[in-house]
């Protein structure tokens, strides 16, 4: 793994390397991410795309996109992190490398609003149907507020502050 990391460190300018034994996480620039993933797949034997995920770092106005790749023969894993601007939220597509990458990208478009131009059926709804609100996995989407606005409360149900309620229940005389 060390040899692979040393190789990609110079060729793809990867940084922020976290070595966890058989698994490493590295960060690379947005423009080089798909090229790095292609290199790892074609040259280093990371033929299995395990996961394509996103993390919303709303306070930095960035999305982190993570590709987790696996080399089944050498039993190694690598996580490629890249950061994109949250306002424009566009990333290069990897659908030409793996068929199921298009499914991951379709979900990321729906749930985070990250676009992958050219990815098959990326604009078709995947899980949500007719959704026109903020993409729900974004941190600024408030699930509680959405529920209160969308659904009416059932009669006879109330909500309590858990700490206050338990204090009253356990220590009624205090």
């Amino acid at each position: 793994m060390e040899t692979i990391i040393n190789d990609i460190k110079t060729r793809f300018e990867v940084s922020n390397i976290v070595d966890q034994g058989n698994m490493s996480f590295v960060t690379c620039k947005r423009e080089l991410a798909v090229a790095l993933v292609t290199h790892l797949k074609d040259t280093e034997g990371f033929t299995h795309l395990v996961l394509l995920s996103a993390v919303d770092w709303v306070e930095d106005n960035q999305f982190q996109i993570t590709y987790i790749l696996n080399n089944p023969n050498r039993r190694l894993d690598i996580g490629i992190r890249t950061f994109i601007d949250r306002d424009t939220a566009t990333m290069d597509s990897a659908h030409h490398l793996w068929e199921h990458a298009a499914t991951y990208q379709r979900e990321l478009k729906e749930m985070y609003g990250i676009d992958f131009p050219g990815s098959p059926r990326v604009d078709e709804s995947f899980i949500l149907e007719g959704w026109d609100d903020v993409p729900p996995m974004r941190r600024n989407f408030d699930t509680k507020q959405y529920s209160e606005d969308t659904f009416f409360p059932r009669p006879g149900r109330g909500s309590n502050d858990p700490a206050e309620y338990m204090k009253k229940k356990l220590y009624p005389n205090e």
């Binding site: 976290v18 966890q20 058989n22 698994m23 996480f25 033929t47 299995h48 795309l49 395990v50 996961l51 995920s53 996103a54 993390v55 919303d56 993570t66 987790i68 089944p72 039993r75 894993d77 996580g79 793996w98 068929e99 199921h100 298009a102 499914t103 709804s125 995947f126 899980i127 949500l128 149907e129 729900p136 996995m137 941190r139 989407f141 699930t143």
Partner: protein, 398 residues
């Protein structure tokens, strides 16, 4: 007689119709009246769970298939971002209803990895036991369940009875039948009850007998063979291209099993082989699962024989109500009955996960792979092909 055989073995030349465009996509004009659009699911006896297939058929041949999910979306991953780590467990386990324990394990392992917690040996044995019991109860439903898709329902009913016995063992060990929450960060919740091993052995003997009998009931059945051999073939070149894992990959000749390749818990102290086939059709996948069933029964016996009687159940952990998991990210995997089951966990150093993304095998099997496999199949085989991939819709729409 020879003419009849010729008729039975006749296969249409599916390469010529419908016409394909320059991108290799079928040209489908519904107004031509040569095609019918039909939906299989979400309420359909042949659909495993809440998902549906939008099928375009020509005659009895599927020319286009689209998987639709979203009937069961509960936003678990979003909810987990607003909950303490310990509160994530009741949410996380519901991501795959039939095999909840894999969810518990990957979440606990992720937290332990980020906070550098060593799980005591006794707890590791108990976790291994629970994961194998979970696999056993799933396979008791799945192996004969494949025959049920072809109207051989008896094995399926029988398997459900035996599965219930394993759920009884789960109930006495954990208090729950389906959702157990036995695996917690740092260890497990309890020891084996008194007499558990003996009662489990009684159940395993019944399952041994069941395995012998389903060989005659299902695997030598002429209808089952006719409907499964050569049907729903996965080309080995698709395995990495579509992210195929578990029994579906093993039936295509790939010796891949997370328990062997990336040993976790006590699997490296257990003796077993990974069974593979090369035909890669429905029959081969059923055989792989039947052999997984045999292996699991054997592994449970090995675990019960090797595990110590007593020991620490939990490592020392921070108070779960105020547990701030150190900043970092990890990917933890386990081998579920359907294949690699993983969790990508990101912590920002707070009391709640920043991101928890579950990777279930069905995500790829039931969407990109199934949509591809169904093209040119007979509509009567669609549910058998889907069940042979062992799809579990809740893990697609976490």
């Amino acid at each position: 007689m020879s003419k009849n055989n010729k008729l039975i073995n006749w296969q249409p030349d599916r390469s010529k119709y419908p016409k394909l465009d320059e991108n290799g996509k079928a040209i489908i004009d519904l107004s031509s009246q040569k095609f019918i659009k039909t939906w299989q699911g979400p309420n359909h006896p042949g659909v495993t769970g809440n998902m549906s297939l939008e099928l375009t058929i020509s005659g009895d041949e599927v020319v286009e298939a689209k998987t639709h999910v979203g009937y069961l979306h509960r936003g678990f991953e979003k909810l987990m971002e607003r909950r303490l780590y310990i509160q994530c467990f009741p949410t996380c386990i519901r991501m795959c209803v039939p095999e909840a324990d894999s969810n518990e394990y990957v979440l606990a392992a992720g937290i332990e990895h980020l906070d550098n917690i060593e799980v005591p040996e006794m707890a590791q044995w108990l976790r291994t036991l629970v994961l194998e019991m979970a696999r056993l109860q799933v396979l008791l439903r799945t192996v004969p369940g494949q025959a049920s898709t072809l109207s051989l329902g008896m094995g399926g009913q029988w398997g459900m009875y035996l599965r219930d016995l394993i759920l009884d063992r789960f109930e006495e060990l954990t208090g729950g039948r389906i959702y157990h929450m036995f695996i917690i960060p740092g260890g497990v919740r309890g020891l084996l009850p008194s007499g558990f091993k003996e009662r489990m052995e009684e159940n395993l003997k019944l399952i041994d007998d069941f395995i012998l009998k389903i060989e005659d009931l299902i695997f030598t059945n002429a209808i089952f063979n006719k409907r499964t051999i050569g049907v729903g073939v996965i080309d080995p070149s698709w395995v990495d291209q579509y992210g195929i894992v578990g029994p579906n990959a093993r039936a295509a000749g790939f010796k891949r099993d997370v328990r062997k390749d990336y040993p976790y818990l006590k699997y490296n102290e257990l003796d077993y082989d990974v069974y593979t086939r090369t035909e890669s059709d429905i029959y081969a996948r059923s055989q792989v699962r039947k052999n997984d069933l045999i292996t699991t029964v054997d592994l449970i016996r090995q675990i019960l024989a090797k595990m110590p009687e007593k020991g620490d159940l939990r490592a020392k952990t921070p108070n779960v109500m105020h547990w701030k998991v150190p900043k970092g990210e990890t990917y933890q995997r386990s081998e579920s009955s359907r294949g690699e089951y993983g969790l990508y966990l990101v912590s920002d150093g707070s009391e709640m996960p920043r991101r928890a993304n579950l990777r279930g095998p069905s995500y790829t099997h039931a969407v990109s792979l199934l949509e591809h496999m169904l093209i040119n199949s007979n509509i009567a085989d669609t549910h058998a092909i889907m069940v042979s991939l062992q799809t579990c819709p809740p893990e697609i729409e976490r």
